[in-house]
Each structure stands twice: as structure tokens, then as C-alpha cells.
Amino acid sequence: MIRVLGNFIEIIRGSVITARHFIVNMWFHIVNLLGIKTQRKGAVTIQYPEEKKELAYRHRSLHRLVKRENGKPRCVACMLCATVCPSDCIYVEAAEDPDPEIQKYPSQFIIDLSRCCFCGFCVEACPEDAIRMDTSLIEVAGDNRDALVYDKDNLLR
């Protein structure tokens, strides 16, 4: 009985806090709107998607496969990214590169972004700096699962 009462009191306290934040911020916004300068501003809401927040320097966004100077992927299909990936969402198939200095290149490179948890381990594991998550593309969405399975052509940029 007392427990139930305690819970009930907590619900009321929560509502009061929410209401207080709402009223206080609303108050400052209205006052600012009326041109009165106060020391404190109302809490800011970014008007996404019209307005976008700047990404942090160390952010992780959509993967890309880095190119060599000649446009070929820098990736040598060592499969370390596929090995380390905790979501098992990278698939690499290797093929023979005619250049004996390169020897191995990925004939297939697939990332299933619908499974990816954006941990960035693949980037850490890559010995060739061939995969990066610095495209600033964070709005990865699709209306079916297949649209989120990116292959080499999508990833090479």
C-alpha cells in the first residue's frame, strides 16, 4: 500500500519537473521574442532536417572504401574487418590482382548496414587504412532491407 503511494508521488514529481522545464523555457523564449535581453536563453531545439548540427571531429558515419591514386580500392581483402565486426555484417571476397605488388583485391565488398552498429571496429582493424567512417553521411535509411546492403560500388568514394 505504502509502495503504491510512493510510486504515485514519484509520478507527480516527474510531471512537475517536466512542466517546470517547459514553462521556464517557454518563458525565456517568449521574453527573447519580445526583444528583452536576459542572461539565460531558452533551451535550443535544432530545426532538423532544415537545420543540421555540425558533426564532431571524431564522429563515425557511413563507411567508405578509400581509393588508390588510380581509382582502385586500397583494400587488399585481408578480411580483418569482417573478422572483427561484432555484427558479422561485412562480407569480402578476394581476387587476384595482376600487379604482383598488390596481388589481392576485393572482388566483392558488402556491408549490411541494417545490421551495422557503427562501432567503428572495422576502421580500427584495417591494416591498410582502406575503410573509413568519415563520409559525414549519418542519414542511412531505406524503405527495404536490401537497400541497406551496400556493395563495393556504393562504398568506393
Partner: protein, 523 residues
């Protein structure tokens, strides 16, 4: 092995007292006792060479560090493998070896099972101090039909050269040039062309000799491995089958990626032949996975198939006409399976027409490969089965039920010939792990397992009975022949007490040992 009187002596390695045979090296003594001393050029199959200098140890009373691989043990010797001086020397040796080593691990098929990698992680972990440019050498020399050599990766341990000298005697590889330019290579235009070349890939401690067949197929750490027996000739080499268990979210094209030798000094030593190593595609390719029902009798499950077979056989049995049954066996079957065929058909049903269809003999060599191209020809000959001479007309004459194990008959007769002969037989059943030309001639084709998917024993040409167990599960409807035979016997209600304990291979083997002298006397 010669039975000389060898003196046992006592030594101490890292404070552990050991009793070892006189004449062994310190390294061998340590390995026998489970003490790890890093080594690259030493291989138990050849005399030691002492070229890699990884195995340095400290021996009490000796002024310098000594090579464990070539220093014989002496009574009362005290060896230290972990002293500060030894670990320092090891690190220095690794630094020498790596000074000219390319950073190829990402594209090197050996990565993950490379001794140099392992030792660097165990004893190295230094920053490279090498500022000069590394020596450029040939990175992709074709030294054999399945072999590629990368001279930059080679650490000049000469294991490959010694293998070709000591084991095959073909001496195709040698050391060329001097100093920093030294490299392994073939003698102009004469590639490594013997039936054991694949072993070079296994014994090369680094990724200098790699296999074209395995090249870039996958990474070795994805693979699982299971012990098995090579079924491709009568030797019965002990092998490890390395297979891909599959990725959780992506399909892999096949299961088996490579075959390697499993040490057994009674059969194959450390080696297997190239024929056995590279012909593993039979495990995954052209496999019969579903029941084929050409008669359209709704035989879509094993239960129905067995009922169907029971009807046909029972009918002949009651009419005392089991002479109208013909069974074609093959020595690709295990001992237990052949034993069941003997029991059910020869003894219980009095079937006379039992034939053996084996693959045609092939070439042999003077090391392991035998002319028999099946794993159990010895077992088949010792089973007491009264095989009739293989003759299509005799086989088909007045036959009403034909049971065929395996499709090796296609090697003896053209398919059209077989078709003509057996066309009139009322019920034709084939038990086969593979899709073959015979499928269209049969009423029912039943998918069975290959050796890698079932359990049993095989008798090699020398008479050694070797057990094998499944490396991975069978696909689709595939069932092992012994299970089919036991279930058929149960369906036919032949001596229930006899067949009912046969729920696995072990009790069948025990019975076989009791009943067939050959298997009882041999252990």
C-alpha cells in the same frame, strides 16, 4: 623402428627433471616433455640444419648459447629455455629475420598459422629499427603446378629443399646466390613436379610457399578442422579436413577448403599425396541431396522408400525367389556397411548375385599412393562376401530387384550398355552420394553420405583397420548407408534381436569383430 638398446639418461630443462633417450637433441627432449622452444628450421622428419637460430638455449657449463635442435643431450645436463640471455637472443634473432621480411600479413595466406607471426607475438614485440630499404625479390614465382613462391617472405630455413631431398628424392629446389640476395628457387625450367608437392606448403613455416588452390579463397582462421581418412586410395592416409562452418548472415560457396595431413607413423607419417590433397571437390560438388523418385510413387521420405523396398523384397522372399535380387557393392563402403550387406543379403536373404564395382585402378607411386582408388578394398576382400564376377548380363538375368551402392559401374560399362542390360529389371534402386548418369536409369535414387559425413571403419591396404567419424553433418536427405541397411533389416523383420542394438556404428563393429576372424584378430 629398430630396437637398439638405447640408454636412458637424465637431464633438467627449466628445473624439470626428464628421462630421455641418449642421442636425442635438446629440442626433441623439450618437445617430448611439452616444453616449447621456438624453432623454425627444425622438422622432425629431417636431420636438423641449424639455420634459423631461433632455438637458442642456455646450457650450464657452456660459454655460449647453443642450438637446441642440434645439441645432443648429455647425462646431468641442465638447460634453461627462459633465462634473460635466451629471451634476449630470441628477440634479436627475430629482429634479424624480420629485417628483410615484407609486411605482407594482410595478403599472405599463411597469416594466422605462421610461425614467424606467432613467435613475434610471443617473444618479439619490438619496434622496427630497420631504416634501410628492404631488398626487392621475386614475389610470385610459379615453382610447381599448384605452388607459388614469394622469395621476400622466405626465411631460408631450407625445409622445402630438405623435403625434396630426403622424402621425394626429386631435389627440384635449391638455394641460389649469396648474402642478402640468397633465395630459394627451381633449377631453370624444372618445376616441382612430384605427387607430394603440396606438403611444401604445410612445412614452409612462413608464407613463402603458398598453394594456388587455397590462394585467397578465405582466411584460415574462419575454418574449422576435423580428423578424417582420405578415401581416394587404399593407403587410408590420416587427414584433417578444413571446412568453413559458414558466416551467420552471408552464404559461403562451399564447405571444404583444404585437406592436410594428420600425423600417423603407422600410415602416412607427416605427409599426404597431391592426389588426395586436391581431389576433395567430391565432398561438395554434384552431390545428390534429395530422394529421386522416377516412378512417381510418392517416395518422398526415407520411411516410404524403406516401405517400398520392403514390399518388393518381402514378396520375393516369401516366394523363395531371392535369387532374383542383385546387389552391387563397392569398396567405398565402410567395413560395417559391407558387413551388414553380407549379413542381410548373403546370409539372411540368401542372395547370390552380389557384385563388387570399384573405381578402375590408377597409377601408384613409390611413397603412399596405391593403385586402388577406393579406401576399403582390403576390407571388402576380407568380409567373406562371395562376389560374382562383374557381368551385366548375369547381373540382369531374371533379376527383379537391383540394389546398387555407388555409381562406379559407369567406369566399367558405357551408360547405354548398362541401360540396355538393366532396363528390364522391375525395381532399380541406387544409393549414391553423387548425381550420376545412372539417375535417369533408376526407379529410385537415394542420397547417401561421403566418408567425411559418416562414422565407421576402413581397412587400408596393409590391413590396418582405422576408425573415422563425421567432420560435419550431412545435407538434405543424405543418410549413411549403414543406417539405411539397419533400418531396412528392421523393416524386413529379419532377426529383430540381432539388428535392434545397431543404433550406432560401435555395436555393428563389435559384432563384426566376433563374426569375422580378420577383424577379431587385428586390433
Amino acid at each position: 623402428m629398430s630396437k637398439e638398446k638405447t640408454k636412458m639418461i637424465h637431464i633438467q630443462i627449466d628445473g624439470k627433471s626428464l628421462e630421455v633417450r641418449e642421442g636425442t637433441s635438446v629440442l626433441e627432449a623439450a618437445l617430448q616433455a611439452g616444453i616449447e622452444i621456438p624453432h623454425l628450421c627444425y622438422h622432425p622428419a629431417f636431420p636438423s640444419e641449424g639455420s634459423c637460430r631461433m632455438c637458442l638455449v642456455e646450457i650450464e657449463g657452456r660459454p655460449d648459447l647453443e642450438l637446441a635442435c642440434s645439441f645432443p643431450v648429455k647425462d646431468g645436463m641442465k638447460v634453461s629455455t627462459q633465462s634473460e640471455e635466451v629471451t634476449k637472443a630470441r628477440k634479436n634473432m627475430l629482429e634479424f629475420l624480420l629485417a628483410e621480411h615484407p609486411l605482407d600479413c594482410p595478403i599472405c595466406d599463411k597469416a594466422g598459422e605462421c610461425k614467424l607471426q606467432d613467435y613475434y607475438e610471443q617473444y618479439g614485440f619490438f619496434e622496427s629499427r630497420f631504416e634501410e630499404k628492404k631488398e626487392k625479390k621475386e614475389k610470385k614465382v610459379e615453382i610447381g603446378k599448384t605452388l607459388l613462391l614469394d622469395q621476400e617472405r622466405c626465411i631460408l630455413c631450407t625445409r622445402c629443399i630438405r623435403f625434396l631431398k630426403e622424402i621425394t628424392g626429386t631435389r627440384e629446389l635449391g638455394l641460389f646466390n649469396r648474402g642478402v640476395h640468397t633465395g630459394v628457387n627451381i633449377y631453370e625450367g624444372n618445376p616441382v613436379e612430384n605427387n607430394y608437392s603440396g606438403n611444401l606448403v604445410d612445412i614452409c613455416p612462413v608464407g613463402a610457399i603458398t598453394d594456388k588452390d587455397f590462394r585467397f579463397q578465405t582466411r584460415n582462421w574462419f575454418l574449422g578442422s576435423g580428423p578424417s581418412i582420405c578415401p581416394l586410395c587404399g593407403r587410408g592416409c590420416n587427414i584433417d579436413i578444413e571446412y568453413h562452418p559458414g558466416f551467420p548472415h552471408f552464404p559461403v560457396p562451399k564447405r571444404v577448403y583444404r585437406i592436410g595431413p594428420r600425423e600417423n607413423h603407422r600410415v602416412n607419417g607427416y605427409w599426404i599425396c597431391d592426389y588426395g590433397r586436391y581431389h576433395y571437390s567430391y565432398i561438395d560438388e554434384d552431390r545428390q541431396e534429395q530422394i529421386v523418385d522416377n516412378k512417381k510413387e510418392k517416395l518422398d521420405s526415407w520411411e516410404r522408400v524403406l516401405d517400398f523396398l520392403k514390399e518388393r523384397i518381402k514378396k520375393l522372399y516369401y516366394m523363395n525367389k531371392t535369387s532374383r535380387i542383385a546387389v552391387l557393392t563397392s569398396s567405398w563402403l565402410s567395413n560395417e556397411e559391407l558387413f551388414l550387406i553380407r549379413k542381410i543379403f548373403q546370409e539372411d536373404l540368401n542372395v547370390e548375385k552380389i557384385f563388387l564395382t570399384d573405381p578402375l585402378p590408377g597409377e601408384e607411386d613409390n611413397l603412399l599412393l596405391t593403385p586402388e582408388r577406393s579406401p576399403n578394398s582390403k576390407g571388402a576382400s576380407q568380409m567373406g562376401l562371395n562376389f560374382k564376377e562383374l557381368d551385366l548380363n548375369k547381373l540382369a538375368e531374371r533379376t527383379e530387384v537391383l540394389l546398387m551402392f555407388g555409381s562406379h559401374i559407369t567406369e566399367h560399362f558405357a551408360t547405354a550398355q548398362t541401360q540396355e542390360a538393366i532396363g528390364g529389371i522391375e525395381t532399380k534402386v541406387l544409393l549414391n552420394p553423387h548425381i550420376s548418369d545412372l539417375n535417369s536409369l533408376m526407379d529410385v535414387v537415394l542420397p547417401t553420405c561421403v566418408i567425411a559425413e559418416k562414422e565407421g571403419t576402413l581397412t587400408n591396404v596393409k590391413g590396418l583397420v582405422q576408425p573415422f567419424s563425421p567432420v560435419f553433418e550431412a545435407k538434405g536427405h543424405c543418410r549413411p548407408e549403414w543406417e539405411v541397411l539397419v533400418n531396412l533389416a528392421k523393416k524386413l523383420a529379419l532377426n529383430f534381436r540381432y539388428y535392434s542394438p545397431f543404433t550406432s556404428v560401435k555395436p555393428i563393429f563389435k559384432k563384426m569383430q566376433k563374426e569375422i576372424g580378420f577383424f577379431g584378430t587385428k586390433k
